[in-house]
């Protein structure tokens, strides 16, 4: 064989090895995708199937535990009722979350800038975190009645603290030399806040917001339980008084979907904003 033939052969085998490496890497990537996306979905599906089978085979009465197929059917048959109440719950949860986030950032900023205010309030805020706030829900009815104000205020009340604590941590997380640089340039506190502190606080703020959106939904549902005039929480209470287990679970399924969607929106916003600000994704 000639030298040229040998060289061609060597090149061929190098090309072959390269292709093998690429194929192997692709396979590993697909395996990872399966492991982290498909596998958890399969687990959930398996649980639903076992549930379905267990209910059918053992003849469990629907009032104790309806099968997933019954719940799906019920969701379809009462879709208008679910829709109207879901709108109310979602609107109030989103409004509560938005107000809690705005107030939380404002309070965190004032605490970071005023050492007196911080000394007066911060230990109390931390202490307040320890109170089982759900126990206070009936008070809100006494104060604000059984309307949307009551539910909204309660949702704000319980989702506000995680935002405050996370934002304070974030705002004080700025490197000391960065603040020294700003002071050296005689920048105002207002300028330093918007140009430096707030963007630095974003990763913390978003982790607070992710807790807050979950808490806001809890707050609204608890509010609906006790104000008993509107929303999915009200529907659940009402159905339970009639022993309509299937309707309860239908409403819970819709609540899960709402919770997942709202959390998904906050996570998506987090991804976009943190990427724009060059923070490492949390």
């Amino acid at each position: 064989m000639t030298d040229i033939g040998l060289t061609a052969l060597a090149e061929d085998s190098a090309e072959l090895r390269r292709r093998t490496r690429i194929a192997r890497a692709r396979k590993a990537k697909m395996l990872q995708a399966f492991k982290h996306i498909v596998l958890p979905m399969l687990t959930a599906l398996a649980v639903l199937l076992v549930w379905e089978a267990a209910v059918d085979l053992n003849g469990i009465p629907k009032v104790i535990l309806p099968a997933p197929s019954d719940i799906a059917e019920r969701i379809w048959s009462i879709r208008k009722l679910l829709y109207a109440n879901a709108i109310s719950t979602t609107t109030e949860a989103v409004a509560g979350f938005a107000i809690a986030t705005t107030l939380g950032i404002a309070l965190a900023a004032s605490l970071v800038y005023s050492s007196w205010l911080r000394a007066a309030l911060y230990p109390n805020i931390v202490f307040f975190q320890l109170i089982p706030k759900i126990a206070l829900a009936p008070l809100f009815i006494v104060w604000l009645g059984i309307g949307a104000e009551s539910r909204l205020t309660f949702a704000v009340f319980i989702s506000f603290f995680p935002v405050v604590i996370a934002t304070i941590t974030g705002l004080t997380n700025v490197p000391g030399d960065m603040l020294r640089l700003c002071r050296g340039l005689t920048a105002s506190n207002w300028q330093i806040f918007w140009a430096v502190r707030f963007p630095y606080a974003l990763p913390h703020l978003f982790s607070g917001m992710k807790i807050a959106i979950t808490f806001a939904i809890i707050g609204v549902v608890v509010g609906e339980f006790i104000t008993a005039n509107k929303g999915l929480g009200y529907l659940i209470m009402f159905a339970s008084s009639m022993a309509e287990t299937t309707t309860i679970l239908a409403a819970i399924a819709v609540l899960c979907a709402i919770g997942l969607t709202l959390f998904g929106f906050v996570t998506l916003a987090e991804k976009i904003v943190l990427k724009a600000y060059g923070h490492k994704a949390a």
Binding site: M178, R180, L181, L185, T186, A195, V196, P199, Y277, G278
Partner: protein, 263 residues
């Protein structure tokens, strides 16, 4: 023309109260710096040299004594100072160019008017191809070069540097010293440069102030005899080595006097 007492430090001291005792970090330091002079403040870690610099920058109050810069006592930070710290402290979400323009925004001036200057400075330190890159896309040395440009953007009269290269590896550090020497030779600011590297102090400065251990005072005020512009090969000459050895002995003697080991 140039003011021989552009910086005037008189009997400056810094004491911290720790419990019932007072810790004297800097004890009665006095020196002058002429306009356009580059002075290194050299001393071991924790000797109070950074505290001294922060007092000159108006970012730390002095416990005693007076500091005057450009004929006015320093009572707080001033815009005619440019600061460089140990870490580059760039905003992670801004490009090199935007980071260099950051002081302009903080001073509420029009960034558009300084854009050309910012680009020119970045080109001068070899970052012409990295104007629109973010800090995460730059090496440690490149980031610190951006920080140097940021300190110079508003054309400050006095550049204060607090161990700016001590977080970098030895090779990058030599590169940075050359970059700083080159840019300083074109800009000719008055410079205060705090470092614990003897080589760096001598290579960059017209004058080296050696600080002793705590409570620190100035143990030696040394005029560096080398002409400018300085060649990187200067550090390999016997004269350079001799001066470094002498300064090292001075630092060790200063430490022995303060009752601590130089190790």
């Amino acid at each position: 023309m140039s003011d021989p007492r552009f910086i005037r430090v008189r009997d400056v001291a810094k004491t911290y109260v720790a419990g019932a005792t007072e810790v004297e970090a800097v004890a009665h330091v006095a020196f002058d710096v002429a306009e356009g002079q580059f002075v290194s403040i050299l001393g071991p870690s924790g000797c109070g040299k950074s505290t001294l610099l922060m007092m000159c920058a108006g970012l730390e109050p002095a416990s005693d004594g007076t500091i005057e810069i450009a004929g006015r006592p320093v009572v707080g930070p001033r815009r005619e100072f440019g600061l460089i710290f140990q870490d580059a402290t760039l905003l992670p979400w801004k490009s090199s160019l935007e980071n260099v323009l950051f002081p302009i925004r903080m001073m509420k001036r029009d960034p558009a008017q300084y854009r050309d200057r910012a680009e020119a400075l970045l080109r001068q330190v070899g970052l012409g191809d990295f104007l629109h890159k973010r800090p995460s896309e730059l090496s440690g040395g490149m980031r610190q070069r951006v920080a140097i440009c940021r300190a110079l953007i508003h054309d400050p009269e006095l550049l204060m540097m607090d161990e700016p290269f001590s977080a970098l590896d030895a090779i990058t550090r030599d590169e940075m010293n050359e970059a700083l020497a080159r840019i300083w030779e074109t800009q000719r600011k008055t410079g205060l440069f705090v470092t614990h590297s003897i080589r760096e102090a001598v290579f960059l400065a017209d004058r080296v102030l050696v600080m002793s251990g705590r409570p620190s005072t100035i143990a030696l005020d040394f005029q560096v005899p080398f002409a400018r512009p300085r060649d990187p090969a200067l550090v390999e000459t016997p004269e350079f080595a001799k001066i470094c050895a002498m300064l090292k002995r001075t630092i060790e003697a200063g430490y022995a006097r303060s009752g601590r080991s130089a190790a």
